[in-house]
Structure formats: C-alpha cells, structure tokens
C-alpha cells in the first residue's frame, strides 16, 4: 500500500467512522459485561458507569455457578453448536462438491432447491418440526436440536461453498484422477484444504445463530436435561422478581465460547471474505 494515496485527513476520517461503528457495535456488549460485575443497587443506580469498589460485586457469578446446572447448560449448548457445525460443514461441502463438480440432469434445479432455504426461515415450519420430533420420539433430546440446526445451516453453506469450489482448478482434480485417487480422496485431500477460508466463513455465519437461539430449545428441548445456555438464563427472569445480576453474568459467560471459536476461525475468515478481491 503506497502512502501517496493515504493523506492524513482521509486516514483520520476513515478511523473516525470505523471507531464510531465499533463503539456502537460494542456498546451493549460492554454494558452487559460491566454490569455483570456490579451489585444490584449499582446496576440500577448508575447503569452506565463501570464498577467502582463500592458497587463491585460478584454476586451474579456466584449465583450462576452456584446453580450447579449451569455448567450442564453450557455443555448442552456446546455439544449442539459443535455437532451442528460439523454436520453443516461436512454435508454442505459434500453437496457443494457434487453440484460444482459433476454434470447431471437437474444439477442447476438441485442447486436452486438447496439454496431456497436461505430465503425461507425454518421457523415457519416449527409446528411440523415439532410434530415430527414428537412422532419420532426425539423431543427433549439434543439430537432434535442438532438435526434442526443442521437443516437450518445447510442452504447457506451449500450456496457459498459451491461458488468457491467452482474456482478450484479442474486440472488439479484431473491430475488426482489420473494418479488413481478416489473421488473421496480428491474431495477431502485436494479440494477441502483449498476452500478452507470459505469453510471458516460458513462456520462463523452458521455458529452464531445456533448458539444464540432461544426458539428451538424452548420448543423442542425445554427439559432440565437438555436446556441450553440461552434457555437456562431465562431461569433468572421471574414473573415478579428478575435476578439481573445472574442474567448479566450468564450472558457474559455465554459470550466466551463463541468468542473463542470466532478467534479460531477469524484468521481464515478474513481470507475467505477478501479472497477473489486480491489475487
């Protein structure tokens, strides 16, 4: 990048815009984290100030941790998110490979059909899904959630990944075929590593809505055994009394795992978003 195209006022302007955006985006998150470390009086007395020695209180965290089950809710969320993510990436990539690599009758119709799910929210089918789960005895199991989230994530995954897979060199795949590699080996060893950045992109876009979802856990798996973190946090939302300390602490804790997964994927993610722009 040359300095000639970056005059000082423009640099300042660009940074000002980006900083403003960052502040706006982070504001609610910071408020939540800040207040989670305050006493009840501190939260309501001065919600916008950081914890002072007078208002600092870990009561929220002790409540949450003390509610023994919370660790269990966390586990449920993690199992559901990671398993769904795994299946979305695996099946999404396989379908994308078939669509981009093989010529068969109805190829483009199939692609369109698989992409349709991007436009139609899966929640429209909640009643049917619930009936299905009841019929198959999957209500109140994590399997039910994993199945639903896999279905929810697949359309976008197939759509994005098939675009990227079209860009993988035909010559490379053909060289593999001449060397006697099976189609599975070509897919797993040659193609997948080359589309890794786009896999990370898909992973992030798939993961966040799953982790944050309240709807399906509430409907399909509200039992004590299968509660997820977002559902578990509702515990502290009473009809008459709401334990704000505990809610804020629970939400702060819930941010952590996604944040960690995001950091893992983010290096790849940025490459995924900018690839094609810079050759």
């Amino acid at each position: 990048m040359s300095t000639a195209t970056h005059s000082l006022p423009r640099t300042i302007g660009a940074h000002a815009v980006l900083l403003t955006y960052t502040v706006i985006a982070l504001f609610p998150v910071i408020i939540v984290i800040m207040n989670s470390f305050k006493s009840r009086a501190g939260i309501f007395g001065a919600p916008l100030t950081p914890p002072t020695p007078k208002t600092f209180d870990l009561i929220g965290y002790t409540t949450v941790i003390g509610q023994g089950d919370f660790i269990h809710y966390f586990q449920n969320s993690l199992v559901v998110t990671v398993a769904s993510l795994f299946f979305v990436l695996l099946f999404g990539a396989m379908a994308a490979f078939a669509l981009s690599e093989y010529r068969f009758r109805g190829n483009s119709m199939m692609g369109l059909y698989l992409a349709l799910g991007i436009m139609i929210p899966i929640r429209l089918g909640t009643v049917a899904i619930l009936q299905l789960m009841v019929a198959s005895g999957l209500v109140n199991t994590l399997t039910a959630l994993i199945l639903v989230y896999t279905a929810q994530g697949l359309p976008l995954a197939v759509f994005i990944l098939s675009e990227f897979m079209k860009q993988v060199s035909d010559d490379l795949k053909n060289a593999g075929r001449i060397d006697g590699l099976s189609e599975y080996t070509i897919f797993f060893r040659l193609v997948l590593p080359l589309v890794r950045p786009s896999m990370a992109t898909v992973a992030v876009f798939t993961m966040i809505p799953i982790w944050n979802d309240l709807w399906f856990p509430l409907i399909l798996a509200p039992s004590e055994e299968t509660k997820t973190v977002t559902l578990g946090a509702q515990l502290f939302l009473g009809q008459f009394v709401t334990n704000w300390n505990a809610i804020l602490a629970a939400l702060s804790l819930a941010i952590m795992p996604v944040l960690i997964l995001y950091v893992i994927f983010s290096r790849q993610l940025i490459r995924g978003i900018t690839s094609g722009a810079v050759k």
Binding site: D171, N174, A175, R177, I178, D179, L181
Partner: protein
C-alpha cells in the same frame, strides 16, 4: 507398446457438438502434436483419450485394447497440465510418487524411479520442497517428472509451456524433445504455438471446429497444405490469400507465403504502397497495399529499408503459389 487408435470419436456437451468424428492412428514412439485455433476441441480430445471425459460415441484403443470404459488411472497414460496441477500439500518427491503409491508399487521401486526422473530433469535439490516454494519452470518440470515416473504407454501434454516466459519455454521445449528421444515413448502434445508444433512433432494434426483438417509431418503441412485453413494456420507470418477473380485466375483463392514473394523498386507483378515495415534484424516484414492483390505481407530475409508510402512491386514465386477452389481445397 504405445500405440493409439481413435475411431470415429464424437463428443457433445448437451446440444453442442465439440468433436465431430475424429479418426486418428498414432504408432508406437511417435510425437504427435494437435494444433488448432482456441476452442476447436484440442483439450477435449486429449481429455477423451485420458478418460477424464466420456466420448459420446466412438472408440479409444490404446495398445490394441479398447479403453473406452477404463478409468484414467488404469489406461497407462500420464498427463501434464498447463497449470502444472501439483498437489499443494505434498513435497516434490511425494507429488511424483503419489500415482505409483496409489497403484501399490513397492517403495524401493518408487524411490528408484523418482531418482531417475529427478536427475533427468535436474530436480534433485528440490525433492523436499513443496510446490509453493518453486518457480514456474521448476513446477512444470516437477509435473513432467510426475508423468515420467509412471512410465506410461502414452504421455499427454496440454499446452504445458504456455504459462512460462519465452526463454524458459525454449529450454523446456528442448527438455521435452530430449525426453522423447531418451524414453522413445509415445507422446501427444497440444499447443497453440506453431513453433512448438513444427519443432517437436513427428506428425501434426490440425484441428478446426471439432474436425481434423489434415494430418502430416511438419514439412508436409508447410509445403503441401490440403486446404486453405491449414495453409493459413501453418507458417508465420500467415500466408497471403488473394481473390482469384481479381488476378484473372480460375481458382477462387490464390495463396502465397510472405517468404515466397520478392520485392523490387522498379518492376514486378503486383504494384503496391508500403503501409508499414517491421524490422526484426534477421528479417523484415513489409505490409504492402497492392492495387491488384489488396493488403499483403512480404517477408524479406535480412535488412531491407523501405519507408511507409514508398512504391514497391511484389512478385510471387510461381512454383510456390497455391490455388484453392471454392470449397477451400487445394486445386491440383
């Protein structure tokens, strides 16, 4: 042990017919070059031979065995691609050895063959590197090495040099010619570049729009083109074509190569004005706008000074003038 027969091979992508009935015989040890304009189906034909693409109809016979239903890995072929197509996650050594490993060749034998191929292509210093750590020329040599270690009946090259710069192209061309001489293997080579075609080939196959226009040795195609297309495609600068009627000839078109025209300042067959002169040192290309013949190219060996606007007379060598009928075929 490396003959190839292609019998009436046709290939269509949906309604588009890309290969329209190809018949070709390649004997053992021959170096055959496919040339033709972009999109004429050269790569498609090569991929059909390799088994990467199924033909719509027709047979491909390698060494007397019909391989139409045989997968690429079992056809006894090796292919070198324009984009190198090396496995990015494997070292040079493993890139070369993968095919043999898949076929269950013993490790000692794989090492022996890699040793021979890498010394032949001077790749020994790079065996432990990955493709990303090699230059373009080195990558293409690895790709050639990967083909050599398979000891195939048939080598297939799809424009292997077109991603290399001019100097490297000449070197690698030489290496491929030497390789052919040493291995005495049958090779099929696709190219755009007619210098490559003329210098490497025992036999050139000129393709146009999915059909073979002519098959023959390089000099045969140069001296006795079967039709207007081949005459125009082989030779550089391109052959001049003049409307027969304008010259008072019975033939539809008269063709004469730029090097078979002589120029004179005072007299000659076609009077014309110099439009442009290209000085290449060893020879000079003159573009003349002639009253009778239209815009023609004249190639003069050595230096020739001519200013744009000057009047010159061009005279074709009657022994090296071609006459084409209305169907484009040469008139005898």
């Amino acid at each position: 042990m490396g003959s190839l027969n292609i019998e009436n091979v046709k290939k269509a992508f949906g309604p588009v017919e890309v290969l329209k009935g190809i018949n070709l015989e390649v004997t053992d040890g021959e170096f055959v070059v496919f040339v033709g304009p972009s999109g004429c189906g050269k790569s498609t034909l090569l991929r059909v031979i390799a088994g990467l693409e199924d033909s719509t109809s027709g047979r491909v016979v390698i060494d007397g065995a019909d391989v139409s239903a045989t997968p690429p890995a079992k056809r006894g072929i090796a292919m070198v691609f324009q984009t190198y197509a090396l496995y990015p996650h494997l070292t040079v050594k493993n890139n070369m050895g993968l095919g043999l490993k898949q076929a269950g060749t013993p490790a000692a034998e794989i090492d022996r063959r890699i040793g021979i191929a890498s010394s032949m292509l001077s790749l020994e210093p790079y065996l432990a590197r990955r493709p990303a750590e090699l230059s373009g020329g080195q990558r293409q040599r690895v790709a050639i090495g990967r083909a050599v270690v398979r000891e195939p009946k048939l080598f297939l090259f799809d424009e292997p040099l077109s991603n290399l710069d001019a100097a490297l192209r000449v070197n690698t061309r030489l290496e491929i010619a030497q390789l052919h001489r040493r291995l005495r293997a049958t090779m099929i080579y696709v190219t755009h570049d007619q210098v490559e075609a003329m210098t490497l080939a025992d036999k050139i196959v000129v393709l146009n729009a999915g059909k073979i226009e002519q098959i023959g040795g390089p000099m045969e195609l140069y001296n006795a083109p079967a039709n207007e297309f081949v005459a125009g495609f082989i030779g550089s600068p391109k052959m001049n074509f003049v409307d027969g009627a304008r010259l008072g000839e019975t033939a539809k078109t008269i063709g004469v190569r730029p090097e078979h025209l002589t120029v004179d300042a005072k007299s000659g067959a076609w009077k014309g004005t110099v439009v442009h002169a290209e000085h290449l040192g060893a020879d000079t290309n003159l573009y003349l706008d002639c009253e009778k013949a239209g815009l023609i190219t004249v190639r003069i060996f050595g230096v020739y000074n001519a200013e744009p606007g000057a009047t010159l007379y061009a005279t074709p060598d009657p022994a090296k003038t071609y006459r084409f009928g209305a169907d484009g075929k040469v008139l005898k």
